[in-house]
């Protein structure tokens, strides 16, 4: 990323903040249930965007190459170059997450849904394959390294579509 692009990201962040403020004011002024819901959802979207943008800046500080976030492939057959078994590059500066914290991230009652694979904790809250924070009978909030290995052998690419949020300690 060059200076110009960096500037672009910063402007985008500023813009998102403004939008968030607007949405919060909106939340106060409306009584309609559905509009409220809609606004809340938009808020969440904006926060995700912020998250994404700040992450991008963080990464920028560590290494100058940015791995583009790929759209989630919906066909089971991944392009062969993604089929490698070496672990994907994950950001180095992830916070540590204890087993206890992981166990709380079950995705129930407003908690996020996290799963750990190979020592990295991923956020699957809004991953399409994890509706109701469960996936083929597996609940979130667990270390599923063994299950992943047995069910998705040779499909390491799946992990690269997930958002890493921490290192399991």
């Amino acid at each position: 990323m060059n200076e110009n692009e960096l500037e672009l990201v910063r402007r985008q962040i500023q813009l998102t903040f403004d939008e968030i403020q607007y949405l919060i004011r909106m939340l106060y002024s409306t009584k309609d249930y559905h509009t409220k819901n809609l606004t809340l959802n938009q808020l969440w979207n904006k926060v995700s965007l912020l998250h994404f943008l700040t992450n991008m800046l963080d990464q920028q500080q560590i290494s100058s190459t940015v791995t583009p976030t790929l759209p989630q492939p919906s066909q089971p057959a991944p392009p062969s170059h993604m089929n490698q078994t070496t672990p994907q590059t994950v950001p180095q500066n992830l916070p540590t997450i204890t087993r206890e914290q992981l166990a709380n991230a079950t995705g129930r009652n407003g908690n996020p849904a996290y799963v750990a694979v190979g020592g990295i904790v991923y956020d699957v809250t809004n991953n399409k394959a994890w509706s109701a924070a469960s996936h083929f009978g597996l609940p979130a909030g667990k270390d599923l390294t063994a299950e992943f290995a047995s069910c998705h052998a040779g499909q390491q690419w799946i992990l690269s579509t997930l958002k890493p949020v921490g290192r399991l300690v």
């Binding site: 969440w44 995700s48 399409k128 109701a132 924070a133 469960s134």
Partner: protein
């Protein structure tokens, strides 16, 4: 004659039209003697006998059409006029002939199969297990119809007291699998038509015809724009995406959203969540079907 594989607009491309074209072709060939009506045996094993009910719900083609023009149905517990020994004799008589076998229901294996007796033969109980083995080995083609026949389905749900398994665990041979709970009549009749005209349809790595089971429900779902915008329903009845409530559309590959059910009027996500009934592992691996203690957004 139109080759059903290479039809382009302006020909009608609707689901109904495709099934109709396939069956019309079969019909033409039956009438000019190119094809002889094959015998079909429909075995109901350990299940709810709902796939035959679903088959009766077929609109185009329908059951009447299948019975009179596509195949000669020899055995069906739900429909046949004969009963008792006479019925079982009929079943045994096909063993010497060529026949297609359609099986619905899982195979109960506990106590040598005694958890599901489907008749009496020569004075002894004739179990689902015996029937599956006996007919499965002799049939020219085997079609496992519905979730139970494919991998045990609801009949094998935990704790699976009857020790039910899918047909392929009992009969080791190539077969066509049509999961779904129940199987959509078009999935069966379309497969049957293909089998009669062009042989075994192209299958995926889990033996399901690509004709019907290739696209994720989630990729064709009319609620998808809501998913992409992160607008999720908090209760059933909202028109938005049901993901947070436990919708299994994102892991289920079948053509429900475009085909729809019962004369093509509606489909599960038109009413409530998808419960992944056409995905292997249903129902245990698809639960919870509906959950209200949901994640943050």
């Amino acid at each position: 004659m139109i080759d059903p594989h290479h039809v382009l607009p302006p020909e009608d491309m609707s689901n109904e039209a495709i099934v109709r074209r396939l069956t019309e072709q079969a019909n033409v060939r039956i009438q000019n003697g190119q094809l002889k009506k094959k015998k079909l045996v429909w075995l109901e094993l350990t299940g709810c006998s709902g796939n035959i009910i679903s088959l009766m719900n077929g609109f185009n083609p329908n059951l009447e059409y299948m019975l009179t023009l596509m195949v000669d149905l020899v055995y069906s517990n739900s429909l046949m006029a004969a009963e008792g020994e006479e019925a079982i004799e009929r079943l045994m008589s096909v063993l010497d002939e060529e026949f297609i076998l359609a099986v619905e229901g899982a195979v109960a294996t506990k106590n040598n199969g005694l958890y599901n007796v489907i008749g009496r033969w020569r004075g002894k109980p004739f179990t689902a297990l015996q029937a599956a083995k006996m007919l499965g080995e002799k049939a020219s083609h085997v079609i496992a119809v519905g979730a139970c026949a494919v991998d045990g389905g609801p009949s094998a749900a935990k704790p699976n007291l009857a020790e039910c398994v899918g047909l392929s665990d009992i009969v080791k041979r190539p077969m066509i699998k049509l999961p779904g709970c129940p199987c959509h009549p078009d999935w069966f009749l379309g497969t049957l038509a293909h089998l009669l005209m062009n042989g075994v349809p192209e299958l995926d790595n889990m033996d399901r015809p690509l004709l019907f089971y290739s696209t994720l429900i989630h990729d064709r779902c009319p609620r998808r724009p809501f998913f992409d915008k992160g607008i999720f329903a908090k209760t059933l009845g909202e028109p938005t995406c049901l993901f947070k409530l436990g919708c299994r559309g994102p892991v289920t590959r079948v053509d429900c959203p475009t085909r729809k059910w019962d004369g093509y009027v509606n489909w599960p996500i038109g009413a409530s969540t998808c419960i992944g009934c056409s995905q292997f592992g249903f129902p245990d691996k698809m639960g919870p079907f509906i959950s209200y203690d949901i994640t943050r957004e």
